[in-house]
Symmetry: C2
Subunit: 201 residues, 2 copies
């Protein structure tokens, strides 16, 4: 049917999240926006039906929690078969996934446009990446407070998240470096342009 034994990649993503700690659908949805959404994202409209499928397959189970004032919620936890299947899937060799970066497409066609106006594109990307770095760093520090810095036990549920935050941080820093390189290209061209024309004023 899908990725591995009838479970999709999204299914395994959700399993990985509830394996760390029991979560409601709403919690899973939040997890896949901040902080983890920088690495993998999903909307609640996809999450609720997927949780139902995982439950039908016996990979998660839920417990209804009645709350005073707030709406009731369903707290999902992973089952033993769910944990086994997840552990099995993790060790399978992965298929290469292709990124879909809109900025890369824009860059491909940037030679058609005015460099001075294109600059803001990369400045905005830098600002967005810096904002993400703030969030990722905060999440990472929260984990470092619970364990030692660079010393999270490999068997701790925090280990995977810590490693992924590390990955996300490196990616954003990388993006910033590249955007700065792009801006330097634009500046180089602007300088060459100024030099070839007699200074006015």
């Amino acid at each position: 049917m899908a990725n591995f034994k009838g479970v999709t990649t999204l299914g395994f993503a959700i399993l990985s999240a509830v394996a760390r700690e029991p979560l409601s659908g709403y919690d899973v949805s939040r997890f896949f926006s901040r902080p983890f959404g920088f690495i993998w994202s999903a909307k609640h409209s996809q999450i609720y039906p997927e949780l139902a499928k995982l439950q039908a397959a016996g990979l998660v189970a839920h417990q209804e929690v009645t709350q005073g004032g707030r709406p009731d919620k369903k707290i999902y936890r992973i089952t033993d078969p769910g944990r086994s299947l997840l552990a099995e899937w993790v060790l399978r060799p992965g298929s290469p996934s292709s990124p879909r970066a809109e900025l890369a497409i824009k860059t491909l066609a940037v030679w058609l446009t005015d460099p001075a106006r294109a600059e803001s594109l990369y400045r905005q990307e830098i600002a967005a990446a810096e904002h993400d770095i703030g969030n990722l760093t905060a999440a990472r520090e929260a984990i470092e407070e619970r364990h030692g810095r660079n010393d999270i036990p490999l068997t701790s549920p925090d280990f995977g998240l810590y490693a992924d935050l590390q990955y996300g941080l490196a990616l954003r820093r990388q993006t910033i470096d590249w955007c700065r390189w792009m801006l330097a290209q634009f500046d180089r061209a602007a300088l060459a342009n100024t030099a070839s024309q007699p200074a006015a004023g």
Copy 2:
């Protein structure tokens, strides 16, 4: 209807490709696998219908080429309205796109598994990234031969591709660094394990 004035991001990706030089659907399809597929990918089943839509909108035009032996082909080139629309789209501020890295999900759940067996996951990713780097470097060198190193004119159709290859290379190198960090985490744990147990033999 879609992204900008009825044209989807895929449509703009194809427009960006044919803006560089006239291409057949097959050529576009190849472009979105190697070398550019490391940055944005699309299958021919998506490309042929999209080219037809772009043509219906007057953004590209094709010319049929009869070939001896080989099947006939349609060479698409961008039209003036196509070029204008693309240039306009490029300068629009972009929306953040979310990556979907399977390895990141596996990493989130890696604490459930045997570290010694998980190592191969990261070794394979390193090998794949090194392979990609070879391809990207070859493509980059082909451009550097036509222009100077780090001296591609901003108005050359090659500039955008060069910048994107640069981006792809940086991303793959980044991935390798992170995978090595992961392997170091596993080794650290293995060493601690050995140290805590009396040596046998």
